[in-house]
């Protein structure tokens, strides 16, 4: 069995080498003329090249991730509190020790 596997490996390698050896592509002008003749007989193709398609694809690729992130942030603040009041209190103490009006206006 080992001998057969070894033989198989050798033959496979030789076949692979034969397949990968480049064949010279022989293309003549007549062939190209025939293709063009065929194409000229077809109905003309009209349309526009969509260059924005790449942006569309990127947009949709990130849409799911962006949506999930937004949902996670919302849930986080829902269960932990946004901390907005604390931040305003801090600002008040540091920058506005006596003026409560601005903070009260923001909270209300």
């Amino acid at each position: 069995m080992k001998k057969i596997n070894e033989q198989l490996r050798k033959v496979e390698a030789a076949l692979l080498a034969a397949h990968r050896r480049e064949d010279e592509a022989q293309i003549n002008q007549e062939w190209q003329a025939e293709v063009m003749f065929h194409i000229r007989r077809l109905r003309p193709v009209r349309g526009v090249v969509e260059e924005t398609a790449i942006f569309d694809r990127l947009l949709w690729r990130f849409a799911a991730a962006a949506g999930l992130t937004a949902a996670a942030v919302c849930l986080y603040f829902l269960f932990t509190g946004s901390g907005l009041e604390t931040d305003i209190e801090k600002l008040k103490l540091i920058w506005d020790p006596v003026g409560f009006l601005a903070a009260q206006a923001l909270i209300s």
Binding site: A14, A18, H19, D23, I27
Partner: protein
């Protein structure tokens, strides 16, 4: 005379343009511009087709590839290089060719001749030889490979050629064939096993074992 000179100048200009500009011209009705695309990519298409299709049918499949590229030009979305887009069309044309011709082009088992058997013995004995002998060996190797590939289904044939023989990554093969990565993985594994079994039947030792079993 002037018109010819203008045409020549125009031709030179067109050949300098980027693919996307040329496609725009074709879509605007300038069919001659498509010839520039053919000039640029015919060698690549022929190279790809020659890996999958018998020698005498390559021009036909390459012809179909460019005609199909022309008819689907409005679907080109510039999301990738034109070369890749053309490769996809070429691979699908090869696949279509095998789906249509799989049955009628099957090579009979008797086509493995004494010459092929000599080639196998030569490979197994690791003899090195002169260029002429190597050229003949090359032809015989191709014929053996064609014999084995003819025994696979069109799907198996395409996937094993792309992944195993051409050595493309699974993801790229899947993209070219328009299949899922999983499907390519499964098919590639099965097809390779089948190919190995077919080749192993030709080995002298394995042949003797088969005869004994009979």
């Amino acid at each position: 005379m002037i018109s010819k000179a203008n045409d020549r100048d125009m031709g030179q200009d067109i050949s300098q343009l980027q693919d996307i500009e040329i496609i725009r011209r074709v879509l605007d009705g300038d069919l001659d511009a498509f010839e520039v695309i053919m000039d640029r990519y015919q060698h690549q298409v022929f190279r790809l087709v020659s890996k999958h299709i018998p020698h005498d049918r390559r021009q036909e499949v390459a012809h179909d590839t460019f005609v199909q590229a022309y008819t689907s030009l409005s679907t080109y979305t510039a999301t990738g290089p034109l070369a890749h887009w053309l490769s996809k069309i070429a691979v699908r044309c090869c696949y279509d060719y095998w789906r249509e011709n799989h049955r009628c082009l099957e090579v009979t088992i008797s086509s493995i001749t004494e010459d092929h058997q000599t080639w196998l013995d030569h490979v197994l004995s690791e003899e090195s030889s002169d260029v002429h002998k190597r050229e003949i060996a090359q032809r015989e190797a191709r014929e053996i490979l064609d014999w084995a590939l003819a025994r696979l289904t069109p799907e198996e044939r395409m996937v094993v050629t792309l992944t195993h023989l051409d050595g493309l990554p699974v993801k790229e093969a899947a993209d070219l064939l328009g299949w899922s990565v999983i499907k390519v993985k499964v098919q590639a594994h099965r097809s390779r096993q089948k190919l190995r079994q077919l080749i192993s039947k030709l080995l002298p030792d394995e042949g003797k074992r088969h005869e004994k079993n009979k």
